[in-house]
C-alpha cells in the first residue's frame, strides 16, 4: 500500500517537472505573488510595499517589484499586512480525547491517535491566522502522553497534517491538575471516587523521578543489548519492549521534547533540577505562570516558556500570574511564547500579543515573535516556519490591518502556499450554505422507508 502511494507520488512529481520544462507558462502554475503588502517578516523587520512570491509551497522571493511568473495567481495586497502564520504551542484542538486519566504516567499514549481532521475549530483557527499548532494531552497526569505538531491543512487527513520533520514531544504536568485538587466533584462512570497518587507536589517529584529511574535502567538494558549485538554476539534475547519507557528513553537521549505544564515557580524549579540531575532538558514550560519569579534559573537550564497573555486568578496557582511574565522571560534570554490552550482564544492570539506591548513594553517585532518564530523554536521547526524568509514554508496570514490591532481581521491564510482560509470566499459561500441548510431542514425526518411513503410497515403475521 505504502509502496503504491510512493510510486504515485513520484509519478506526479515527474509529470510536474516534465510539463514545467515543456511549457514555461506552467512554471507559474500553483505559484502565488502577493503584491505590495506591508511584510512583517518578524526576523528581518518590516518591509513596506513589498512583494512575496510563493512557489512550490515555499517562500521563493521577498522584495520590491517581483515579476509574476506566467500563470501565477497575483494578489493585490495594497494596504494589507502579511505576517508569518501564527503558531500556537499549546492546544487541544482536534482531540477527541484529552486525558488517559487512569495512571499518572501515561507516556505510551499518543494524541495523534485521537485527532479529528474535520474538527471545525481548525477552520476557525485558520480564520484567526493560525497555521501550526502543538496538540497536547490534558494535564491530568504527571507524564501525560505524546504530542502532535500539526499544520492546519483543513480538509486533509491527519497524516497529511502532521508537520513533516517536527521532532516528537511529550507532555508533562505539575500542580493542581495533576494532584486533582479541583476535581472533587468529578466521578468516572462506574468507578468509585478514589484518590490517585500523587495528591501533593511532593508525590509529583517522586512520580517523575521514579519514571526516569526506570527509564534510565531500561536504557542501560537497551544500550547493553545494542553493544553486545554490535560486538557480534549471537542468539541474544532482545529486551522486552516497554512502551511506557521508550518515549522517556528518547527524552534522556534528547530525541523527544518535553513540554511541561506548570504554574508555580517552585514546581518548575523542581522539574528543572530533576531534569538536570538526569541529564535531559525541558524544552518548554507550558503556561509557567510564575516563570518570572525564576527567570534566571529557567534561562540557565535553557528551557523555553509558553504562557497566557493575561489570564490569572482562575485558580490559586494562577493567582500570581502577571501579564509581564513573557516580557520578563524574554529579557532574561528565554525563548518565550504565548499560547491559547483554547479553541476560542487561539483565534485571537494577535490581540494577546499586542498586550505584551502594553505590559512589559515589547517592540512590535518582539510581540509578534511570541506567536510566530519563538513557537517554531519551541517546536523544533524554526528552520521551516515562523518568519517570512526565502526558503521557508509559505505559511502566511494576510491581514486587512496591522495584526497587533484589535481592528484587524484575516483576509487569507496560506499553509504550504495553499489558501486554506479566504474571507471573501467564506462570505460568498454563506448564502449558498444557508440555502443548503434550508433544503436539508425541509427534508423529511429520518424514519423507516415504508413510513416515509405513507405506507404502514408490513408487520410479520403471527402464524396460526
Amino acid at each position: 500500500m505504502k509502496r503504491t502511494l510512493l510510486l504515485a507520488a513520484s509519478l506526479t512529481l515527474a509529470a510536474g517537472s516534465l510539463s514545467a520544462q515543456a511549457n514555461p507558462a506552467a512554471a507559474g502554475a500553483g505559484a502565488t505573488l502577493i503584491r505590495n503588502a506591508t511584510v512583517l517578516t518578524v526576523t528581518k523587520g518590516t518591509l513596506k510595499n513589498t512583494d512575496v512570491l510563493i512557489q512550490n509551497g515555499k517562500i521563493a522571493q521577498v522584495g520590491p517589484n517581483i515579476t509574476a511568473p506566467a500563470g501565477a495567481t497575483v494578489i493585490d495586497a495594497t494596504g494589507k499586512y502579511l505576517m508569518p502564520g501564527i503558531i500556537d504551542p499549546h492546544t487541544h484542538t482536534m482531540s477527541d480525547a484529552i486525558n488517559e486519566g487512569s495512571l499518572s504516567v501515561t507516556s505510551m499514549v499518543r494524541i495523534q491517535d485521537v485527532l479529528n481532521p474535520t474538527a471545525v475549530n481548525i477552520y476557525r483557527a485558520l480564520a484567526g491566522g493560525v497555521t501550526s499548532i502543538n496538540i497536547l494531552h490534558g494535564s491530568a497526569n504527571t507524564i501525560g502522553g505524546q504530542n502532535a505538531t500539526v499544520k492546519l491543512k483543513w480538509g486533509e487527513s491527519v497524516d497529511q497534517m502532521m508537520f513533516p520533520g517536527a521532532p516528537p514531544g511529550i507532555k508533562f504536568a505539575l500542580g493542581e491538575n495533576v494532584t486533582r485538587k479541583n476535581m472533587n466533584q468529578i466521578v468516572i462512570p462506574g468507578q468509585p471516587m478514589t484518590r490517585r497518587y500523587p495528591v501533593s507536589r511532593m508525590g509529583q517529584e517522586e512520580v517523575v523521578r521514579d519514571a526516569f529511574v526506570r527509564a534510565r535502567d531500561y536504557k542501560a538494558t537497551l544500550d547493553d543489548y545494542k553493544a553486545r549485538v554490535a560486538k557480534g554476539e549471537k542468539n541474544l534475547v532482545p529486551p522486552r519492549r516497554d512502551l511506557e519507557l521508550e518515549p522517556l528513553v528518547e527524552v534522556l537521549e534528547g530525541k523527544r521534547l518535553v513540554h511541561a505544564h506548570s504554574y508555580r515557580s517552585d514546581e518548575m524549579l523542581m522539574l528543572l533540577n530533576l531534569a538536570d540531575e538526569f541529564g535531559f532538558r525541558i524544552q518548554t514550560l507550558q503556561h509557567g505562570l510564575e516563570g518570572y519569579k525564576i527567570a534566571s534559573e529557567i534561562a540557565k537550564h535553557g528551557a523555553g516558556l509558553s504562557s497566557f497573555a493575561d489570564s490569572w486568578s482562575y485558580k490559586i496557582e494562577a493567582y500570581d500570574a502577571i501579564p509581564y511574565n513573557v516580557a520578563i522571560l524574554l529579557r532574561h534570554g528565554v525563548v518565550a511564547t504565548l499560547n491559547s490552550d483554547s479553541d476560542e482564544r487561539m483565534r485571537r492570539l494577535n490581540i494577546d500579543a499586542a498586550k505584551l506591548v502594553r505590559y512589559g513594553g515589547l517592540t512590535e517585532d518582539e510581540a509578534l515573535a511570541t506567536i510566530t518564530i519563538n513557537g517554531a523554536k519551541q517546536l523544533g521547526v524554526a528552520d521551516k516556519v515562523g518568519s517570512i524568509e526565502v526558503g521557508k514554508d509559505a505559511d502566511l496570514g494576510l491581514w486587512n490591518n496591522h495584526p497587533l490591532s484589535v481592528y484587524a481581521a484575516v483576509d487569507k491564510t496560506f499553509v504550504d502556499g495553499k489558501v486554506y482560509f479566504d474571507r471573501q470566499q467564506d462570505l460568498a459561500m454563506r448564502d449558498q450554505k444557508a440555502k443548503e441548510r434550508a433544503e436539508l431542514e425541509k427534508a423529511e425526518a429520518n424514519q423507516a422507508p415504508a413510513a416515509r411513503r405513507g405506507v404502514q410497515p408490513v408487520l410479520p403475521q403471527e402464524e396460526r
Binding site: 480525547a97 484529552i98 486525558n99 486519566g101 471545525v120 477552520y123 476557525r124 480564520a127 490534558g138 491530568a140 493542581e176 491538575n177 485538587k181 479541583n182 476535581m183 468529578i186 466521578v187 468516572i188 462512570p189 518570572y292 519569579k293 527567570a295 534566571s296 493575561d310 489570564s311 490569572w312 486568578s313 482562575y314 485558580k315 490559586i316 493567582y319 500570581d320 502577571i322 501579564p323 509581564y324 520578563i328 529579557r331 479553541d343 476560542e344 483565534r347 485571537r348 490581540i351 494577546d352 499586542a354 498586550k355 506591548v357 502594553r358 505590559y359 510581540a367 490591518n401 497587533l404 490591532s405 484589535v406 481592528y407 484587524a408 481581521a409 467564506d426 454563506r430 450554505k433 441548510r437
Partner: protein
Amino acid sequence: MMRIRIVAVTALVALAALPARAQLGSFNPPPGPQKTVAITNAHIVPVSGPEIANGTIVISGGKIQAVGSSVAVPSGAEVIDARGLYVYPGMMDAGTSIGLSEIGQGANATVDISEVGSFNPNAMAYYGLNPHSAHIGVTRVVGITHVITRPTGGILSGQAALVNLAGSTAPQMAVNRAIATVIELPRSGFGGRGFGGFAAAQGPSSTQDVNRTRQRQLDSLRTMLRDAEAYGKAMDAYAKDKTLPRPKHDVVLASLVPVVRGQMPVIMVADRVNDIKEAVGFAEENKLRPIIVGGRDAWQITSFLKDHDVPVLITSVMDLPTLEDDPYDVNYGAPGKLAQGGVRFAITSGDAGADARNLPYTAGMAAAFGLSREDALKSVTLWPAQIFGIADRFGTLEPGKVANLVVTDGDLLEAKTSTKYLFIDGRMVPLDTKHTDLNDKFKDRP
C-alpha cells in the same frame, strides 16, 4: 492562647510592612477637598461629540467642569500636560461580578457570587463586594472606571450594584447599591459537558421533565412577584392610614417592590432566541423592565428587540460559534448587526472579575467585524450608562458629569495602548496593581 496572640502580632507587623500602595482594589482617597485638575494639550474624545484635537478638560469637586479647545486653566489648578495623549471617558463594564469572587476554582471561601436556593431577590452584591479584591486595580488600570456587579445563580439571583472601581469600603465605591435585580429564568436547554473530558454525562432527564420543572419555577416566580405587588400596596395603605393592621415586614418581598412597580430594571440572563423572547414575554406579562444579559443570539431578532425596546448587555463577542455550520465570525459580528438593527446594547465582559480587563479588546474586535469604531467606543461608555439610566452622570466627557476618565497614549480599545492617568470620581488613582508590584519585585531579580 499565648501562641495565638503571637501569631496575631506577627500578622499585624507583616501588614504594617506592606507599602501603602493601591495595588489591591482599595484606594484611600486623601482627606480634604478635591483638587482642581486641568488636563491640557490633550486629544479629547468626549464620545458625546466630535473629537477635540488639542483641548483642555477641567475637573473639580469630583465633576467635569469644562471640556473644549479654548478652556482656560483655573488659577491654582494642578496642570497635567497631556501632549500626545488622549482623554476618554472611563469605560463601564455593565456585565460583571467583580468583587464577588476572587478565585473561582479551589478556593471556595473567596467566592460570594451566589446564594443558596432559587429566590434571593434581597441578596445584594453590594454586601458581598470586596473593595480589596486584586481584580479591581487590574481592571481599572485599563480604563474601566465603573461597573455593574451582579450576583448570579438561582432564579432570582439578587441585586446588582453600580460601583466606582476605587475606594476602601463598599459605601465609598457604590454609586447605586441596588441598580437592578437579576433574574435567571430557567432556560430551555440541557447542561453542557464537563471539564477535562472526565465528566459523566449528566443524567438525561426528558424534555417533558425539563419543561415541567421550568413551568413550576416560572409559576413560583410569578407568585412571588404578585406577592410583592400586594405587599407594596399593603405597605402604602398602612403608611396612609395607621389604623390599618401593620403588614409583617418581609425583607424578601420588600426588595421586589421597586421591581414590580417598574422602578428598578431587571437584568435577565438569556442567550438563545427562544430564551430571550421568553424573558421579554415574561417581563411584559409581569410589567418588569427587562435588560437582557448574555444576548448571544439577539442579533437574529433585532426587530423584536427594537419593537419591545429591550436593551442587551452582550457578553459573547469572543465566544466560539454554537453550531458547527455557523459562520466563524457569527459572534464577532453580532454587535454590528445589533447596531444596524437599532437595538440598544452594550458590550460587557460577562466575567466574574479577573478578566474583565479584556472589555476594550472585546469591543475593538466587534469593530473589526462590522461595528463602527465610534459605536464600539459607545458600547463600553455611553450606551451602558444609557441602558441603566445614568447617562446624565456617566459615559461621556461633558461638564457636570462625574469625573471618571482615562488618559492614554493611544486608542482606548487597542490592546497595546497604555494608561497614563486615571481619574475616578475626580481623584487621580494610582496605576499600580498587584501585577505591577510583582513585576517590580521580580523583573530584575538576578
